[in-house]
């Protein structure tokens, strides 16, 4: 039998490539995506996000199935069945739950467990850290909005009477309407969840605060806006969850009248509110983290 020797490899120096700040930002982005999806984490951290993703995609498949079934009975009835806008509406609840989970997970553990001290001892600025986190959030949430729409779009194409390619050609506007609507949702929900997660140290409380801000905010804003005092209508703008829905309705057709619309505001006002809210949240989160670094 040959002699067995164990070598202590010791500590080896590294002479290979160093990607600098760009590599650091990429690492934060990748870790953010993995964290939101529960990858590299315990099994129970995977259950919730993947269940919601599967539900959203299955919902799109069910929509296609309904279109196919109804179309077999009476083709004209298919016009009455919701498509892209309806699907947005259907899984908006799912996406809200997902965002309530994902947003706090991206920011809070790093801060409360002291991991920021590791981040900022590396070639990484506060801006680099935050933009990478926002990028990870936007990637996953946008995927959750867009993937079911892709399933729906291709499914509707497959069952279309005019044929798959003709259907796609006739509905090219979907290729920009869906992303723009998704962007409106990501901006509003991302702004709220990041701002709250920057100041709340418990992920569960931040998630509850996010949902509470959207639901209670919309209810209170609607009631106050209906009051008789001067300028009461401006309170309707505080129903921040209504603004991306107004954008969605603008592209895909009306569903219900939201508080800002009831108060007489045009769709462009909602667009301005969305951009303003995102800018305000970006400033606030950046301000908060520059003090923490």
């Amino acid at each position: 039998m040959a002699d067995q020797v164990i070598y202590d490899r010791g500590y080896r120096s590294y002479d290979g490539a160093r990607l600098g700040p760009k590599g650091a930002r990429r690492a934060v982005y990748k870790d953010g995506v993995r964290r939101v999806l529960g990858l590299g984490r315990k099994a129970r951290q995977k259950i919730f996000p993947w269940t919601l993703i599967v539900i959203a995609i299955v919902a799109a498949a069910v929509f296609v199935g309904i279109h196919w079934a109804i179309g077999n009975i009476e083709e004209s009835m298919r016009q009455e069945i919701p498509t892209y806008g309806g699907l947005f509406d259907f899984y908006s609840g799912i996406s809200l739950l997902f965002i309530a989970l994902a947003g706090p997970q991206l920011l809070i553990p790093d801060r409360t467990r002291g991991v920021l001290s590791v981040y900022f001892s590396r070639p990484l600025t506060v801006d680099g850290y935050l933009t990478s986190k926002v990028g990870a959030f936007a990637t996953v949430v946008a995927a959750i909005y867009i993937l079911p729409q892709v399933v729906l779009h291709l499914g509707l194409g497959l069952i279309a009477e005019e044929g798959f390619l003709t259907y796609l050609g006739n509905n090219l506007d979907i290729l920009w309407k869906v992303p723009v609507t998704t962007l409106a949702f990501v901006l509003v929900h991302g702004a709220v969840v990041f701002a709250l997660s920057a100041i709340i140290d418990r992920t569960g409380i931040a998630a509850a605060a996010f949902l509470g801000t959207l639901f209670a905010g919309a209810a209170v804003a609607g009631r106050v806006a209906e009051a008789g005092f001067p300028a009461a209508r401006y309170f309707s703008l505080l129903a921040i969850d209504h603004h991306p829905r107004i954008i969605r309705d603008y592209f895909f057709g009306d569903t219900i009248e939201y508080a800002p619309e009831a108060a007489g505001f045009e769709v462009w006002v909602s667009a301005v509110v969305i951009v303003g809210l995102a800018a305000l949240a970006a400033w606030f989160v950046r301000f908060r983290y520059r003090r923490l670094a």
Binding site: Y11, A27, P109, V118, F120, S121, R122, P123
Partner: protein, 300 residues
């Protein structure tokens, strides 16, 4: 090789609280201890070196770069082990250390390889796929060290690395740090435990309430011990002559304790004994511990 740290008249305050006051010092390559009581300014010093704080006045060069002007350049060459908690409990040790390497710019495939090697080095090869939340304090300290060295930094900053460890864990951690110096990694160890510094460092910087007490080789500090002198008679005359030369003297019968001070004490004692006609029985130099010197609080 030039100094790894050069500090020139550096002052930093947190509003009305003065954290560092007019520090000027140079630290050569090797293992350096940054010692001082809690609140002495050690962590402030480390954060200034990382470019996370900006000095109120004065300047600093770390590895030849100004951390205020080039923080990312400095940070890409430094490994930092924070004193407090800094580990995500829901990641495995291998994943986190690999991630720490990628944060320093190491490509992901290389980061995974170095993560395994580094965890092997710190003695966690068997536990590397366990979640950090399941680790003991000693194991967490090792992971903190691993994340600080995984990217092969030129300078390692360790903030209280043995904090919270039991005696065995403390010994193992100090052994690890000593071992790193064998691999030519420059280390600055911040600690308020002076014996840790004595065991690991070859240069020491002593801070007290933001002021520099001493900065020099640990070997030199040992020479700054006291000298025990015993004479046949006239101890007070001998003591007076030595005091005139600027050294402290404690008289206990025919015995005198002179110093602390360097090797210039001995000739002065001999001259004083001869001048007083006291008759020298014996003269023995005692070594000083860092604690003696720290408690003495004389700036050099």
């Amino acid at each position: 090789m030039s100094a790894i740290l050069e500090v020139d008249d550096l002052t930093h305050d947190y509003g009305e609280v003065l954290a560092l006051s007019g520090l000027t010092l140079e630290v050569p390559p090797g293992v350096t201890g940054l010692v001082g009581a809690n609140g002495a300014g050690k962590t402030t010093m480390l954060r200034l070196m990382l470019g996370l704080l900006h000095p109120t006045s004065g300047s600093m060069q770390v590895l030849g770069h100004d951390p205020q002007r080039e923080p990312l350049v400095v940070r890409s060459r430094i490994g930092y082990m924070p004193e407090g908690e800094c580990l995500p409990k829901d990641q495995t040790a291998a994943d986190f250390v690999s991630y720490a390497a990628q944060l320093a710019g190491i490509p992901s495939h290389e980061a995974k390889r170095r993560s395994s090697e580094t965890l092997f080095l710190v003695g966690l090869e068997e536990e590397r796929f366990r979640f950090l939340g399941d680790f003991s304090t000693g194991m967490q300290q090792r992971v903190k060290l691993a994340q600080a060295i995984v990217h092969d930094p030129d300078l390692l900053l360790l903030d209280e690395p043995a904090s919270g460890l039991d005696p065995e864990g403390r010994t193992q951690m100090l052994d690890l740090i000593r071992r790193l110096s064998d691999f030519d990694v420059n280390v600055i160890v911040s600690s308020h435990v002076l014996t840790d510094i004595e065991q690991t460092c070859d240069w020491v910087v002593m801070l007290d309430a933001g002021n520099l007490l001493r900065s020099g080789p640990l070997q030199g500090f040992e020479k700054l011990g006291t000298v025990l002198v015993e004479v046949l008679e006239h101890p007070d005359s001998v003591a007076a002559a030595i005091r005139e030369q600027g050294f402290d003297v404690v008289v206990d019968g025919l015995r005198l304790v002179v110093g602390p001070g360097d090797e210039s004490i001995e000739p002065i004692v001999v001259s004083a004994v001869a001048a007083a006609g006291a008759g020298l029985v014996r003269m023995i130099r005692g070594s000083a511990s860092l604690e003696d010197l720290f408690l003495n609080r004389e700036t050099v």
